[in-house]
């Protein structure tokens, strides 16, 4: 079995993507069977947003229609705990494979500023879009897709369609 090599020296190659996918599927199945919900990440990010909003102005946040229903402690939520788990699990795995590197990933002919600008704008759009669609790649596309929910699969198709349609316009960030 051959594996794709990483560009860094001393890093272990990535796992076979199909087997990594099966592992991810098993984790998702465990989540369905024990928690009774799928995986999720954007929910925890929104909770952090609500928490930050609470720090800035608690009355305004509690008064708002969307964040307001999450109460005074929006971080007390299972997805926030899943966030911590994802972080620790990925850190553990990256350390084992010697893949922890502090850097801005970009094409070698791309400025750090351009890459970070795209990352920030992409983040804002994704944060907004996940609230609108009530989930992200993990919560809607992957979990809802595995449950065969119509809306989640529609989301999945739209996500890739618009990704492929716009990829050409932002290709510069990966130019070497």
């Amino acid at each position: 079995m051959t594996t794709v090599n990483n560009s860094h020296n001393g890093c272990k190659p990535y796992t076979n993507p199909y087997l990594a996918g099966v592992l991810l599927g098993m984790v998702l199945l465990a989540s369905f069977v024990f928690l009774g919900t799928g995986l999720g990440a954007s929910g925890s990010i929104a909770r952090m947003g609500a928490s930050l909003s609470m720090c800035i102005s608690a009355p305004h946040t509690l008064d708002s229609e969307y964040f307001g229903k999450w109460g005074t402690n929006p971080l007390h939520y299972y997805l926030v705990f899943m966030f911590i788990g994802i972080f620790v699990g990925a850190w553990f795995s990256a350390l084992l494979a010697n893949r922890v590197h502090f850097k801005v990933e970009r094409g070698s002919n791309t400025s750090v500023r351009l890459r970070l600008f795209y990352a920030l704008m992409g983040g804002v759009i994704v944060g907004f879009a996940s609230r609108l669609a009530q989930g992200c790649t993990s919560g809607q596309a992957l979990s809802g897709g595995a449950l065969l929910l119509t809306g989640s699969l529609v989301f999945l198709v739209c996500l890739f369609a618009s990704g492929y349609a716009t990829a050409w316009f932002v290709r510069r960030q990966w130019h070497d």
């Binding site: 991810l24 990352a119 944060g127 065969l148 929910l149 119509t150 989301f155």
Partner: protein, 297 residues
């Protein structure tokens, strides 16, 4: 049968929070092993240079889909124990289209950015801060967005019902589609980069065959899910209604059953043509099926 935390309405309790953290730990390991702590690798899917996103995501999706279907088939869990998100066409189409733009720009999605942050990627940190900002923006604009947020709300919709297919038929078709996508992805990588480690490999052949066989096995495990369920559900309902009315008429006319005393006399007289199946009607519930009904006749 397993009782989930969701079903117990206990997702906020300490055991559920701890379990969510453990599941997240597994999720993080799987993401990082797959190489999703690298934005370059994630972006590769949109330029056909590294199709890992497609391979990992669809492998995970069919693994969980088939795993859950088998567990339901064995009677270990029922689908109403799992939270099924509503289908809201407007919100999910617009949300999906926007998400794709953000995904290709940032080269992260929320879950992979957490993995990227753990692997020290500064662009992942910036992306996450942006996503927090985007969530706050959504909350501030919510009064304006609310009509779209609920546009085309269909409640819980299963894709096989939407398409008028049977559950098992859709699963088999979806599995075949995923396998075709894997082979196409390998081919695309070969064309773009000149090498593809899995194209035509014994591994990919065995892997594809394994999942197609698993999907096919569902037809044997639960044949009732092999018919389009909207149609069969409608048939069942009408049958029940018909049976109920005809049965009520027969009860009125006493043509469907036999009184215990009468039966006792006939037994004592040892009549040869006692319709034994009529015993069942005495403790029959109203929802007797068509087959049982024809036996009674």
């Amino acid at each position: 049968m397993i009782n989930t935390f969701y079903n117990l309405n206990a997702l906020g309790t300490s055991p559920a929070l701890f379990l969510a953290m453990l599941i997240g730990f597994g999720f993080g390991i799987a993401l990082e092993r797959a190489g999703f702590s690298s934005s370059r690798r994630l972006a590769g899917v949109f330029y056909f240079t590294d199709m890992a996103v497609i391979k990992v995501m669809f492998s995970a999706l069919i693994t969980a889909m088939l795993g859950l279907s088998y567990m339901v088939g064995f009677g270990w869990i029922s689908m109403d124990q799992v939270f099924l998100m509503p289908t809201i066409y407007g919100a999910q189409i617009v949300g999906g289209l926007l998400f794709g733009v953000g995904f290709v720009m940032g080269a992260w999605c929320p879950d992979t950015a957490i993995a990227g942050l753990a692997a020290g990627r500064i662009d992942a940190l910036v992306f996450l801060l942006g996503a927090i900002g985007g969530s706050i923006l959504f909350n501030e604009l919510f009064p304006l967005i609310q009509p779209l947020y609920q546009a085309g709300n269909q409640g819980t919709q299963m894709i096989y019902n939407t398409l008028g297919m049977s559950r098992n038929g859709f699963i088999l078709a979806f599995t075949l589609l995923a396998m075709a996508t894997f082979w196409l992805s390998e081919w695309a990588e070969k064309v773009r980069t000149g090498h593809s480690p899995y194209l035509g490999s014994p591994f990919l052949k065995a892997f594809s065959l394994f999942f197609v066989a698993l999907a096919g096995g569902l037809f044997v495990l639960d044949p009732t899910l092999s018919r389009a369920s909207t149609a069969s559900a409608a048939v069942t309902t009408t049958t029940t209604v018909e049976t109920k009315t005809t049965l009520m008429e027969k009860v009125e006319l006493a043509s469907d059953h036999i009184e215990p005393e009468k039966l006792a006399y006939r037994l004592m007289a040892s009549e040869p043509d006692i319709p034994y199946s009529k015993y069942t009607i005495l403790r029959q519930d109203w929802r007797c099926s068509k087959q049982e009904h024809s036996i009674l006749k």
